[in-house]
């Protein structure tokens, strides 16, 4: 008798139900939607905003089919593109610049499916259209820039300490200092060593000159590289937000590259401009003499007093600022959130480079009690990030901004201060643009080839192995369903090679059933009883199926770890398909066969195609 224990049947049913639930979101199609997301990391998206947006849409008489609030933003689904476009305009106008309003597509699947994270597969750029950029961060430039700062720091330090050097310069990524006398050099080394812990200081004499060569310590170099990459990523994220893309991806790729993916973007020229643009940070004094209510009121009405400029911060608080720029953002070598040393309050720590520090020291000496504003200028729009009061003269370029700040605010301010500029130049080293029509064509072709192949395969197998063939085809359908369910659950990116992998994997997965069916036939030919033939067929085939799938899996995994972009998609689908095929081809098909024949006391003949020929004609 061939029967599965109840728990095994139950397990199969449960897995099939789960598979079914996670597959169906792919069949509901998508509707036009509008997505509201924060333009900057500092803007919060919450229920209040949802309510406000809902009101805006209601006032405008735009029917919302569904609204979702998730960590990325708020999404509104509409019945047609016309409403969608109107809703986008209305929201953009009413909500203002703090938010990115983007057009998107949203699945029509019922809400309870989304609630259990049953979402449709994520389509890759080659299927939905869009732009993919790979940007290379010029790390050498970042290190050169860092070394330049050390040259300035060292020069300033030696001057203030009265160390008499002859010349200081940067050669490659090292600082060289020349001295006239060996004695001065020898005295300078321990002092510099103590003051500049980031540098490895060695003496090196050549051609009658007494020299010091200072190089970046490896860990410092690593820190500079990481910092440059992180800062560039942050900056890119802020810029991408401006493009109004629904689901942009900005992430690190390797040690010195950044991937930027902008689904649905067609205007690549604009995208390139925005990604390559430089924003700047300015440090300017607040004109305290003119900052009285009367002047502010006048300025708001368009009568800005002579010699000052009216700017607002994010909360809308106005400032009257002097026009002279004290410092620009490239003098800020680092901005980190932290805590004030004396009070323990949340604070932002700024590090200025040598020249920046000198200028800052002088300005703070002359302006104790006044405010200094940090202004972010982007897209020709200036905004005050923060305007702290100068308490004392600040030497050494280590600035601490604290007071009435929460930890989150400190973090956001540090981010904004860093976000202005790119730490190092970047270059586009790879671009892939897929137009929307090609994307749609790709989906259609991919699906058509899968279905056509599947149909041909199903007909052939059903004819060749009769009832057992039908069971094999059902197992193959289950395989496809589970594969789609897994891909949807993992939200793996489906690409055109991925669709090809679905087709190919199904074509390969049938191997398991062919092996089993051939084995059963062979057992029957050798005169085994039907029930025993089923048992033997499945058992003997299992080892072979396992071995052959593992070798295929090795290839797929290697492809995954070495491949990039679309090839990864292929490898993911291929690997998952192999795993699901073991379950469906062996366990599910066995359960079906057991259900059909396993409990029958007497099975005369198995419908697996004619095996009688072997007995009919004995060997000549």
């Amino acid at each position: 008798m061939n029967r599965y224990p109840a728990w095994k049947n139950l397990m199969i049913v449960v897995i099939l139900i789960i598979g079914f639930v996670y597959t169906i979101p792919n069949f509901f199609g998508e509707s036009p939607a509008v997505q509201v997301s924060p333009a900057r990391a500092t803007t919060v998206i919450d229920a209040a905003l949802l309510a406000r947006s809902n009101d805006i849409l209601e006032t405008a008489n735009l029917a919302v089919e569904a609204a979702y609030l998730d960590p990325n933003g708020i999404k509104f689904r509409f019945a047609d593109t016309d409403t969608q476009l109107r809703a986008k305009d209305v929201l953009q106008r009413e909500l203002g610049d703090g938010y990115v309003i983007a057009l998107n597509l949203l699945t029509n699947s019922p809400r309870w499916l989304a609630a259990i994270n049953a979402l449709p597969m994520y389509l890759g750029l080659d299927l939905r259209g869009g732009v993919h950029f790979l940007l290379q961060v010029d790390m050498e430039a970042a290190l050169d820039k860092a070394t330049d700062r050390y040259v300035q720091d060292m020069r300033q330090f030696m001057r203030s300490e009265g160390i008499r050097y002859a010349r200081i310069s940067r050669e490659g990524q090292s600082v060289r200092v020349r001295f006239r006398e060996a004695g001065i050099r020898d005295e300078a080394i321990p002092v510099l060593d103590r003051e500049m812990p980031d540098l490895l200081i060695k003496s090196s004499d050549a051609g009658g000159e007494f020299r010091i060569v200072a190089t970046l310590r490896p860990e410092v170099e690593t820190r500079i590289r990481e910092f440059a990459l992180q800062q560039n990523i942050t900056t890119l994220r802020n810029r991408v937000n401006e493009l109004g893309v629904a689901e942009p991806i900005v992430q690190q790729s390797g040690l010195d590259r950044v991937v930027v993916q902008l689904p649905g973007v067609q205007d690549t020229a604009k995208a390139k401009d925005i990604l390559g643009r430089t924003a700047s940070l300015e440090v300017r004094l607040v004109d305290e003499e003119k900052m009285d209510p009367a002047n502010l009121e006048a300025a708001r009405n368009g009568q800005v007093p002579f010699g000052v400029e009216l700017l607002y911060d994010r909360e809308g608080i106005p400032y009257l600022l002097k026009r002279d720029i004290i410092l620009t953002g490239d003098r800020i070598s680092d901005a980190q959130p932290g805590f004030a040393q004396d009070t323990g309050e949340p604070a932002v720590h700024l590090n200025l480079d040598g020249r920046g520090a000198a200028v800052f020291q002088q300005v703070t000496r002359d302006n104790v009690g006044r405010r200094i504003a940090m202004i972010l200028v982007e897209k020709g729009k200036a905004e005050v990030v923060t305007a702290p009061v100068v308490r004392t003269e600040i030497p050494g370029g280590r600035v601490q901004i604290s007071g009435q700040m929460t930890v989150t605010e400190a973090r956001d301010t540090a981010l904004l201060l860093r976000a202005g500029a790119l730490a190092a130049p970047m270059e586009i080293v790879e671009e892939r643009t897929v137009g929307p029509s090609l994307g749609a064509d790709n989906i259609e072709r991919g699906l058509r080839s899968t279905w056509m192949g599947f149909a041909a395969l199903a007909i052939f197998i059903a004819l060749y192995y009769a009832m057992f063939g039908v069971v094999s085809v059902i197992a193959l359908c289950v395989n496809m369903m589970l594969l789609v369910a897994l891909l949807s659950m993992l939200q793996a990116t489906l690409t055109l090679p991925g669709i090809a992998a679905v087709a190919l994997t199904l074509g390969m997965a049938i191997d398991a059933n062919v092996l089993i069916n051939e084995r059963i036939r062979e057992e029957l030919r050798n005169g085994t009883t039907p029930q025993a033939a089923i048992t033997a067929g499945y058992e003997r085939a299992w080892g072979t199926i396992l071995d052959s799938n593992i070798t295929t899996l090795i290839a797929a995994l290697a492809l995954f770890s070495f491949g990039t972009g679309p090839i990864r998609g292929f490898a993911v689908v291929h690997s998952l398909g192999i795993i699901t095929s073991m379950f469906s081809a062996v366990i599910v098909s066995r359960a079906l066969i057991n259900y059909l024949y396993g409990s029958r006391r007497k099975v005369e003949k198995l419908p697996i195609g004619n095996t009688d020929w072997y007995k009919r004609q004995p060997d000549a």
């Binding site: 029509s437 899968t450 190919l504 679309p566």
Partner: protein, 309 residues
Amino acid sequence: MEFFRIRKDIPFMRYALLFNIISIATFVLAVGALAFKGLNLGVEFTGGTVMEVNYSASADIPRIRETLEEAGFEDAVVQSFGSSQTVLIRMPTRPDVSGARLSEEVITALRNDNPGVELRRVDFVGAQVGEELVEKGAMALLVVSLGIVAYLALRFEWKFGVAAILANLHDIVIILGFFAFFQWEFSLPVLAAVLAVLGYSVNESVVVFDRIRENFRKMRKASVREVINNAITRTMSRTIITHGSTQLMVLSILIFGGEALFYFALALTIGILFGIYSSIFVASPLVLWLGVTREDLLRPEKKTEEAVV
């Protein structure tokens, strides 16, 4: 329905030498094609720009060439792609223009000539990224090969691992040989297909090897040669049906999958056909010649007992 009604074992091993000569000849031809013609590597590997543009009416290729030449892109290669309306433009990397800007200049030039042109696809790959991909691709091939040898050595014996990988690398070289000989474009999806074939056609060898092992156990009196012949004969039906099924799918991709998947499917087709051939006519004779014996696979039980003591 049953296609293969074979009663007697087919004496495959008798012809082993002949098949190996055929294999070696094909292999040498493939290596020759690779050496003299080389692979026509896609833009992913060489670096450069490929643009696919679509015209509302039939594209006038000579005119497009002229337009591009006038705009200063003398090195652009223009060819039709799939349909008469679609055109593929290839350009090598240029030291003076950033690759990302190049495609924009080209499309602007084409648009000035004919506003009905639609940009369907741009692939730009910097030279360094391309070099890295070649490196990564070769690395993937190496890792897959070693992984498979290691697994088969563990599950069977080293002779099987070596035989399987030799047989399958022979398939790979032949696929590459075809691509070199006909100068078909070797792109990233083709590399994926080649690696998939490597994993897939090892399946084939594994199925035969499994049978060989089983036969060693069952056919106590038979010679190694007979054991192998029987194993191949018994798995023959499965081999053809499985490969036929996979090929049905691949054929469907080949016909309906469009230009993007055409060479991918073509590589798979060659791989599947040679996969059948190599596992039967190359891998098994190799195992025989490497001198496989019954004892290699069926380890005496005593050893483990001794180890316990």
